[in-house]
Structure formats: C-alpha cells, structure tokens
Symmetry: C2
Subunit: 396 residues, 2 copies
C-alpha cells in the first residue's frame, strides 16, 4: 500500500538531534551532542523514598485515571513557588501539568494557530519546538539572536510585515542552543512589542533554575499585566527528565483550550510522576538540591571553556553561558560545519551542527552546539582536545 | 486581551464524560459514569516491588531521557506476546509506545489527515477518539453500529460517497460505549472493504483482554496481509491507567511518522511507567492476573444486569457485553435522555447520556452508558434500583 500522510507531517524529518543522540551511544563515543541533564543530578534516594511512600499509601490515586489539568497538590506547590520566587502567575492565570514542557510547546501551537498562521522564534532555536510548530503547518519566521537576546529591529519588522502572527517563542535563560541570556531591557522591550502588536509570547524556561553565574533576570511572565504570556517550566532538568513532568502557566482562557488538547492527546500526565514531583517538593529541600546541580554545571562548563581556550583556534568564537547545559561555538565564515562534525564523529566526538537549530532550514550557519552536563570531566578534556586537533587541519 | 484560537480547537467543548466524571466525585454519588478500571484490579504489591527494583538498580535509565520509540525490552515483550497469542504484528510492522492508547489514536489522525479529510467511525463511539479527530478538523462520519458490529451497507455507501476517506476507527471488542463485539464475519468484511477502497483501519483494542464470557474473536490486525491496519493496545485496563502506557503496532512507514509526531509532542512516554510494565511482564504471571480481573468484571456485570432485569422498565433495552467495562441502555423512542440523566443526578446516580458518543452531535439518541467496573456491588444494587425508580415516573 502507498500511504497517504498529512502534508504537515510528510515533510518533517526525524529530529537531527535525536538521531545524532542515537549514534552518540556507539561504544567509545564522547557525546557532547546530548541535551540530557547529568545522571548525577537526579536525587535518586529521595525519589526512591517518595515513590515507595506513594505506592504504599496512595496507590489508588497513583495508579488510577486522574484529571486532565494535573495533580492538584503539585499545581498548588508550583504556583506558590513561582509566584513567591519569580513573580510568575497572576489571578487571571491557571496552570496545567504537561508531559514535559515539550507538550506545553506543542499545545500552544495546537490551540493558537491555524495552518498558515505565523510563529516568530529566535534564530537559532530549540529544534524540538521548531518541529512542533512545523507540524502544524505554520509560517515559521526566525529573528536573529544577538548576544543579549533578540534583534529588536528585526522583531518589529517581522511584526509589521508578517501576516497573522500568533505568538513569539523565546527561551530567555541560557538559550538552547546558543547559551545566551536575554537582558532585562530586551525582555521589557519584547513584552511591549508583543502587547503593541497583539500577539502572545511563549516563554520557555527549562533551564532558569540552573544559573551558576551572574544574577537572575526577571521572567517576561513577571511583567505580564495584560495576560499575553504563556510560561513553560519543567522538572526535566532539576528532578528527572524520564518522569516527563512540565507545566504551563497562562491566562485561564488559554489553559482551558490546552486542557481540551490534552484530553485529546494523552488524557493526563503520568500520575506517579506528578506525585513524585509533589512529594519531592514537600519533603526535600529543592533549593539545596538546585545548588548542587549549579555547582556541578559550573565546574563542568568552566572545565569545557578552559579546554576550549587552550585547544580551539582563536578564530572560533564560543558563548560563555551563565547557566543551562549548552555552549555554542562558531567556525569562521564559509566553513562547512556539517563536514566538520562528520570529521569529529570519525574521531569519536559527537557535536550537533547548527543547521539543526535554524527556523529556515535552507539558511547557512557555521556554528555547532556542545553539551557539558552529560560527559565526565575526563571526557570533556579529551573531547575538546580532539576537536581542537581536528580544527587545526580543518581551518588550515 | 481577546484571544485568537485555532478554528479546530475553538469549537471543541471539554469532554462531557470527563466533566461528568468530575461531578461524579461529589460526596454520596453513585458513579456509573466513569470509564475507570476497578481499583482492586491494580496489582499494587507487584508494582511496589518492581518499582523499588527499578529505582534501586536502573535509576540512571528510568530517570533519564529515553528514545521516542519506547523502551526496547517492553516493545519486545509486547510484540512477542501479541504475535504468539493474537497473530497481531508482521515483519512489516513496528511498535511505538505511547502515553496511553489515546495518544496513538491522536497521532493516527495527526499523521494521516489533512484538514477536511474524512474519518469514518462507529456510531456511537468513544468520545476521546472523536474529539481527537475533531481537533484536526476532519470530516467525521459515523456508521451505525448493529448488535454484531458496523452496518456494512452503510460503511460501503460512505466509502463510495465520502471524499478523501483516510481511515476507519473501530473498537471491535466490547465497544465503548455500546459494549458490542464485532463478529468475525464482519471483521473480515470490514478488512476487505478497507482494502478495496484503499483506506486504513484504526483498530482500538483497550478491552480485548477483559473477556469474561464467550470466545475470543481474532483481531482485524491478525488478517492484515496488506499493511493497512493500525492496532492500538493499552496497559490502562490491565495494569494501571495512571501510568499512561499504551502502544500502536502498525506498518513501519506509519510508525516512523508517529515517532516524528511524538518527538514534537512529549518526546517519549514516562520511562518509569514503561519499565514498570516491562518488569511486571517479566516477573509476574499476566495471564493469572487477567483471570482475576475477568472474574471480578463477570461478577460485577452479572450483578448489574440482574438488577436491571429486576428494576428496569421492560421497554428499556440493554446490551449484554461479553467483556469490557460498559453497558448501554436505550430508553423508548422520543425520550429525552439528558433530562433523564439530570433526574438521576438529583438522586445521586451518575450515568453518561448517549449524546456524548455521537459522531454527529446534532443527532439524537435515547441511550445512556453505565460502567460496572468502578462501583461496589452494594452501589451497583442501590444505583440500579434508583434508576429503575426514576424510570417509573419518567416513562409514565
């Protein structure tokens, strides 16, 4: 049989990052290609303890169907903490628990966009989000990312010229892939522009708690007097990614549509996962746990940057993130970064060529993404030395 | 701000069943409205044991990101069992683990249908699936369900006259809501019609293992020499619904598109849930466990039917299912079943008016759905007596 596929899916390729991730499991490979948190960042003993407690005392809740909106005690804890610490969430907002923040991103496009509507995003941006948007057949328009956030002139130009713009997708903290943090000034300007042009902002903040240098910058959602910001958070980088627990806090009208989308899609997020997150927040010191992760990532990123300073050609620039999981290195103009990444694979080092992160796939880039949370310190040193070595020949 | 929503979502209402489910939690309510498995059907001790083992020995796998296709050992066990016991799955098929079978249903429409394409389904049918299809703006066409399955003439007429039919959605075993099982003859005829008219079949089989009377009927997928059937199974009714583990077995080309949809949506299903299902299949006797559930549901359905025979007006007909979770009762023509259900709510008994299950929401029905898996035997007796009592006045 010749299968007929939806136009919007037929042209989508499997995520290059996830495909590379698979090859990165080859024996002996030094993988800088993952987007995974460090295994040692999972509070394993605490999760063992709370899971045993839940299954001993509330298995009837954990194993049964739950409501689509999410486990109420967890929602209560998330919203209290976000309000108190980040000024995120107002009386007009509601919170829905999603199966990872990815699902909240997917649902945003699903509930806000007709086919052909425009979505704006940073260029480069997180490929998982870009593919979710593409799968709804939207007109995806990238706005150049500068060292302190979006190019505001380009953003306003797009708002003026693109038709039916529904929302702008941004990752203001330690952006994936670029490791860039949007300045407070630019966050304010982005909010004002969105308000002026009547579009929503999808603020994705999976890494916000992982700041290991500098000062926190207020979330765009904290400025949201007008109910135009959908804010996504996640437990994937601070508790466990395998549990698949994220959330969106957004105006009630938007969340009510997301609830409908979720009823259609997976009914509710795994209750045991939600209850583990809830019990962890109840019984353990999240702030102390976060401090440990930050210390770990500070050490790993510093190590990777020090090795880069030692081994990389001076013409190659690299972002110096204040948190998160990623570095973004850029080869000199004209270089073929895909060929470079292929040479690295032959030497058993995996990085992600920047092409994967471009909203417009026919654009060119000479950048590549490296992750420092997953590899060991030893592999960071060995891998960066190999990349530096390959660079010598490649840039000759 | 006035929010702009996607056309396909703007008109969708929250699932009536899930809304009734919420009100059914009111104190003192006898809820025949749920679609939940019995709490006593969860193998709690086994789940406690395997969960503790997983978190003690393989937390690094359970808590980390996994591949989108699903946990390989679980896929291997599902496919071996389905092939051996049900002749489901051929060499051209692959299996993807989904967050409940609901997600496989959603993905089927997502990958096969453009807006405006036609999806055929049984009338009545499972509201969760109908809403998923509606959310992709398809042309949803219901085919009348007879006591042994679809009306084949109506099916062929629809195949001849409807445009761009992409697939037919059926629940051949103990259908939700009607409790009807499609005969072997009709399964063969449905397969041949689908093949002749070049459409796919989405065979949803969440209740197939819950047969407590009569003989198993081969799955339509077991006849699939041509690669036209997408088969969905689920652990929700046999292990735990809260864990959210289901799967689809379908031709590799279709599964590869579902993998792309899943990368966009929730990346992968909760790994701990997948590993719990896998370890349960490894270390416990599923067949013995299923036998216990079947015995339980046989007892409960027999009790409900005996009470119906005693208390219901003779003009009210009720299906006598050989498995699954539901009975479907039909009031005499002209009755307002919504008003009847409202009267029952006032007497603290919740049923689901049949309207919720109609593909065409402007059609009329006098039927309502009752669930026997969740209520206690005592509540089954009390609730059916109340319904019979209300019926006396209502049908006067």
């Amino acid at each position: 049989m010749t299968y007929h596929f939806a136009d919007k899916i037929a042209t989508l390729k499997p995520s290059a990052v996830r495909e590379i991730l698979k090859s990165a499991n080859a024996p002996g490979m030094i993988a800088f290609s993952a987007g995974n948190p460090a295994a040692e960042s999972f509070p394993v003993e605490a999760i063992q303890q709370v899971t045993a407690d839940i299954l001993a005392s509330r298995s009837n809740v954990a194993l049964q169907y739950g409501i689509t909106e999410g486990y109420a005690p967890l929602i209560e804890k998330i919203t209290s903490r976000d309000r108190a610490r980040h000024h995120v969430g107002r009386d007009f907002d509601q919170t829905i628990i999603t199966s990872g923040a990815q699902e909240a991103i997917d649902f945003t496009a699903r509930v806000l966009c007709n086919e052909g509507d425009t979505v704006l995003c940073e260029n480069p941006s997180f490929v998982g989000a870009l593919n979710a948007f593409r799968s709804y057949n939207v007109n995806l328009v990238g706005i150049p990312l500068e060292s302190d956030g979006l190019d505001l002139n380009a953003l306003e130009h797009a708002l003026k010229t693109e038709k039916n713009v529904r929302f702008l997708y941004v990752i203001p903290n330690f952006q994936n892939p670029a490791g860039i943090t949007t300045s407070l000034e630019k966050r304010r300007a982005i909010y004002e522009l969105a308000k002026r042009y009547g579009i929503m902002i999808l603020e994705d903040n999976p890494y916000g708690e992982l700041r290991f240098a500098g000062q926190d910058v207020p979330a765009i959602k904290s400025m949201d007097e007008d109910g135009i910001v959908i804010y996504c958070g996640s437990f994937s980088k601070i508790l466990s990614s395998g549990l698949r627990v994220g959330y969106a806090t957004a105006p009630a009208a938007v969340v009510s549509k997301m609830v409908i989308a979720k009823q259609c899609c997976d009914v509710h997020t795994t209750l045991l996962s939600q209850m583990i997150a809830d019990e962890f927040l109840s019984n353990y010191d999240l702030e102390a746990h976060l401090q440990k992760i930050r210390d770990l990532y500070r050490e790993k990123s510093s190590c990777m940057l020090a090795c880069i300073d030692e081994h990389f050609d001076a013409r190659v620039t690299t972002t110096r993130p204040e948190g998160g999981l990623f570095l973004w290195s850029t080869l000199p103009e004209g270089c073929d970064v895909a060929a470079f990444a292929k040479l690295l694979l032959e030497r058993k080092v995996a990085v992600v060529p920047g092409q994967a992160f471009l909203p417009n796939e026919s654009d060119q880039t000479t950048s590549f993404r490296m992750n420092y949370s997953t590899p060991s310190m030893e592999n960071i040193r060995a891998g960066i030395a190999i990349i530096g070595d390959v660079m010598k020949t490649f840039l000759k």
